[in-house]
């Protein structure tokens, strides 16, 4: 540690550049994974806010809420408990006085069931009458206020915004919550259909009806349109980035160590144990990498706080921890590869 610190202190520029490089690389990885995670969240936030464990859909709907329909004759056989809720989904284009048209997901709910009952609003009240909707806070950012109205698709009926809620996103689109009869209207369905599916907080929930299939929420999320493709792409991107970063950082630390070898040869001649020199090299690599990481984390936090609301960025602590540990291990690896050279360094090589 003594040599490591003194050397960094004396060679400020050189070590500053290396810390800077670690900083930039880890900043890149942090921001990219933050963006990827933020986007992934926008697929699933809504479903997660419902606390859903199982989703019941028509078994021929290809695990898609959008494609599924439950008929009244099916649902008449069921009595839902406090942990279940009917959900009717329809993609809509919302038009209003403000801003551009917004592509949104309409979710029809039974106001007496748990999703509507438990919904946390940031302002306003629950849907308690006809032609009312509660909408995601993105509408607020677009300039909508309580009492403003929205029209859907080509329909002429206006719906009043009575409440705002946060983190209501499905398929990267903001959710508009209304009731199930509005959903039927939007879908042009008769009363003989009840909903698209049933959401349950109970991990063991099934209906017993053969035409209906109960999926666990993980399967449901993976089947969201585009979700797994998107995640695979980002995972690969971040994976490649990590591997290349590892190589780059390792190469730098390797070069750094090579440059020290003549010096180490002298110290070996003077009887300094190889162990001391190896420890010195590794602790120095750790110092450099953790210095770069701390700065990268600070810079990432700063970036996240100044990014406009429209850019989804999300941080998942386990993911960040894995990345951080990965980069630290990289540093150690980069320092360990040339250890063999340190152990082999020939003191005689420096003696004229």
């Amino acid at each position: 540690m003594f040599l490591a610190l003194k050397e960094i202190k004396h060679e400020k520029l050189r070590y500053g550049l290396i810390i800077g490089m670690v900083l930039l690389i880890s900043y890149l990885v942090y921001i990219l994974s933050g963006l990827a995670f933020g986007l992934a969240q926008q697929n699933t936030q809504g479903v997660e806010s419902w606390g859903a464990q199982r989703i019941v859909l028509d078994k021929d709907a290809n695990t898609s809420l959008q494609q599924s329909l439950l008929t009244k004759s099916q649902t008449d056989k069921l009595t839902l408990s406090k942990s279940e809720s009917y959900v009717g989904q329809s993609s809509v284009v919302a038009k209003g006085s403000k801003a551009r048209n917004i592509s949104a997901q309409f979710i029809g709910l039974d106001t007496k069931q748990y999703i509507a009952q438990d919904m946390k609003l940031t302002s306003g009240h629950q849907v308690n009458g006809a032609n009312q909707v509660v909408v995601d806070s993105q509408f607020q950012q677009d300039g909508y206020k309580l009492g403003d109205t929205l029209k859907f698709n080509s329909k002429s009926q206006a719906y009043t915004i009575v409440g705002f809620t946060e983190n209501a996103k499905l398929n990267i689109a903001p959710i508009i919550y209304g009731n199930l009869s509005t959903w039927r209207t939007l879908k042009n369905l008769p009363n003989s259909f009840t909903a698209s599916g049933i959401v349950s907080k109970n991990a063991k929930y099934t209906t017993g009806i053969t035409q209906l299939k109960s999926y666990d929420v993980h399967t449901f999320i993976q089947a969201l349109p585009g979700y797994s493709a998107q995640n695979t792409t980002f995972t690969l991107m971040i994976g490649f980035l990590m591997v290349i970063s590892i190589v780059v950082i390792a190469v730098f630390l390797y070069i750094l160590t090579i440059q020290k070898l003549p010096n180490y040869a002298v110290l070996r001649a003077q009887g300094v144990p190889a162990k001391t020199l190896v420890q010195n090299t590794i602790s120095q690599a750790l110092l450099l990498v953790s210095g770069g990481l701390v700065l990268a984390i600070a810079l990432t936090a700063l970036t996240a706080s100044v990014l406009p609301m429209g850019v989804p960025i999300g941080f998942n602590l386990p993911l960040l921890a894995v990345i951080t540990v990965g980069i630290i291990l990289t540093g150690i690896l980069g320092a360990i590869i040339p250890v063999r050279l340190i152990l082999k360094v020939d003191p005689v090589s420096v003696i004229g």
Partner: protein, 224 residues
Amino acid sequence: MSVIELTNVNKSFGVDTSKIDVLQNINFSAQKGEVSLIVGPSGSGKSTFLTIAGGLQTPSSGQVVVESETMSQLSPKARDALRLRKIGFILQAYNLVPYLTVAEQFQFVDRIKTQHNLSASDLNALLQDLDIANLVKKYPSELSGGQMQRVAIARALYPDPEIILADEPTAALDSERVAVVGQLFQDLARQRDKALVVVIHDMRLEKYADHIYEILDGRMKQAS
């Protein structure tokens, strides 16, 4: 009693036609309390001799005994430890750690060899003798060649080794400083019972030596 003893030592590099014999049948011993001077021209094998005597290189044949330990029988680790405890190397290319100040060069020794180094006052006296006490805050790159050489001498003496092996310790010094270093070596031998082995290409340390050997084309003979 000899603290270093080389018996029938040969050293050659390369094989077959490209083989060169750098040291041939060297017999040498150094005692405590004496300064041994080994004089020879460039390329005669002086540095090779010194590194073999200090256990940095192994001879092609023959035996090296340091402080009753047969070098070839020690593990590399044990050889390191012996070097750290008993031998002070003053190397031909001064070999200070470039990113440590003069004072820190000594602090670093304290970290790897925690006991039996010179006391602060002894170190200070040594630095005064060598006229480098005012340089302690400087980095090697800020020193002249002669100053670096004197710091390197102090660095080698600081762990208070029993045996001091010096490779051209006065090459960069003027005759006034040569006298100081020569006197310092003689005092270390006479007063502190150290064994000094000094290889050098000129006769400037002649009058401080107890024994003088000549080395020529890898063969050594006693001159006086």
